[in-house]
Subunit: 233 residues, 2 copies
DNA sequence: CGATCTTTTGACCCCACTCAAGGTATGTGG
DNA sequence: CCACATACCTTGAGTGGGGTCAAAAGATCG
């Protein structure tokens, strides 16, 4: 059975928080793993949907997820791609406003009961500090995205997406990027049409800025050429 | 002396956090007022700029501020309008990536030394919880803005802006909105051109959805007519 | 009351979207 | 293992929403 990727959601618009954890041992965040449960998801499968009650924390263990908001007319905006180590799902409201779905087959997600996290935080100030820190980092990332969505051209968005993914996936700024998500996902992340994403990648390849080993393996062959297409600062 | 409103920044692109406090007494956040200092700002005056060191918390006492990112080529994106009660300026990085400027003459800002806030949080878990809550609320608001910037038409953005401002300024959802900021600010908040903002407001007025007492006083005369232009959910 | 900034409106244009069609992966069932 | 179905991806042609350029009227302020 084929799981539909495009429009797999149920017409959701959501609200949940996401942030990344750097990997150092003795990290207070690992305390919460004491009461984690894990679950495996298929490609496109929903981890939670719009309207579901909040109160659970989640962390990507392996694979990848997308947090998305969908209009009833089909328009979709991916608010974030969630990579291993990323937390998501905490909200102040009592219902989720945005859904989260697995992007790759076999994505594993850890779940943490919200009340037990809170109890642990109350007893452990270092954990609270850690969570605040993650929240602030997540906010900074969202602000950068608002810039991108609001004031960058199609090419600038695609370039900064490639650079972002290169920086997040590999250790440091690798030149080889594997885009596990579809062009549709990229388009809805960057608020462009699929066709524009495809055309822009083709154009970057023709200009020698990138090389495409196959559809999902991008090599940044000329970082200068890429960078020069992002104006200002 | 006239302070330039447009392009008042120094070519900034920034990173700071913002969130609102609801007003209930016995709010743990008020503990930090013990070591607040206040300052008054002129219209367009910078509260802090891109590149300035972080380590201070801020709260709008009265007036209004804007957090903005500017490209060297003149493109600007306003990330947030900061109203009385809103906190801003906290960041994980050691330098601000985005500047904050006063929007209205005589805006008063309270400043709190970051290390003293942290010390207080360490001694008072309720305060930490409160800050985390504000951060999550801020994140939810940013996610809604990403939707707006990414997937809404010009009219939808203007409409949701008016509704947002009506909800934030008055108590509840007042029908009378006073836009203290310029059309340029609105445009850069919604990632539109000034002309498009102006044209859209004119169009909404002609359709009877809003009434303009003067340039900055908007009355939502037909909320239905407004709402029907925001598709889906 | 002149200078500067803000707002509006008009004319025109272009970047990115839509529509369309063909090619390429990917996966499932026989 | 192959055939078929169902995505997913790319490219082309044409269109349109919102941007740019221009100009004039309206605010605001020293």
């Amino acid at each position: 059975m084929q799981v539909t990727q495009r429009h797999a959601g149920d017409g959701s618009v959501a609200s949940a928080q996401t942030f990344t954890t750097p990997d150092r041992s003795r990290d207070p965040i690992d305390l919460i793993d004491a009461f984690a449960t894990r679950r495996r998801y298929r490609r496109g499968q929903e981890i939670y949907g719009r309207g579901e009650p909040t109160g659970t924390w989640y962390r990507v263990v392996s694979g990848m997820a997308r947090q998305c908001a969908s209009f009833s007319d089909g328009r979709r905006q991916i608010l974030a791609f969630l990579l291993p180590g990323d937390f998501f799902g905490f909200a102040v409201a009592d219902q989720h406003h945005f859904s989260v779905e697995a992007v790759v087959e076999g994505t594993v997600i850890a779940r943490y009961p919200g009340d037990r996290v809170e109890a642990l935080v109350a007893a452990n100030p270092g954990l609270g500090e850690r969570i605040r820190r993650m929240a602030f980092e997540s906010m900074a990332r969202m602000q950068a995205r608002m810039l991108s969505l609001g004031r960058m051209t199609a090419r600038e968005r695609v370039v900064s997406f490639l650079v972002e993914m290169a920086g997040r996936s590999g250790a440091g700024a690798a030149e080889e990027v594997v885009l596990h998500m579809s062009r549709y996902d990229v388009a809805d992340y960057l608020a462009l049409s699929v066709e524009t994403v495809s055309r822009t990648l083709t154009s970057l390849r023709q200009r020698g800025a990138i090389t495409l080993a196959n559809t999902h393996q991008v090599r940044i062959s000329d970082r200068e050429a890429l960078a020069e297409r992002i104006h200002g600062s």
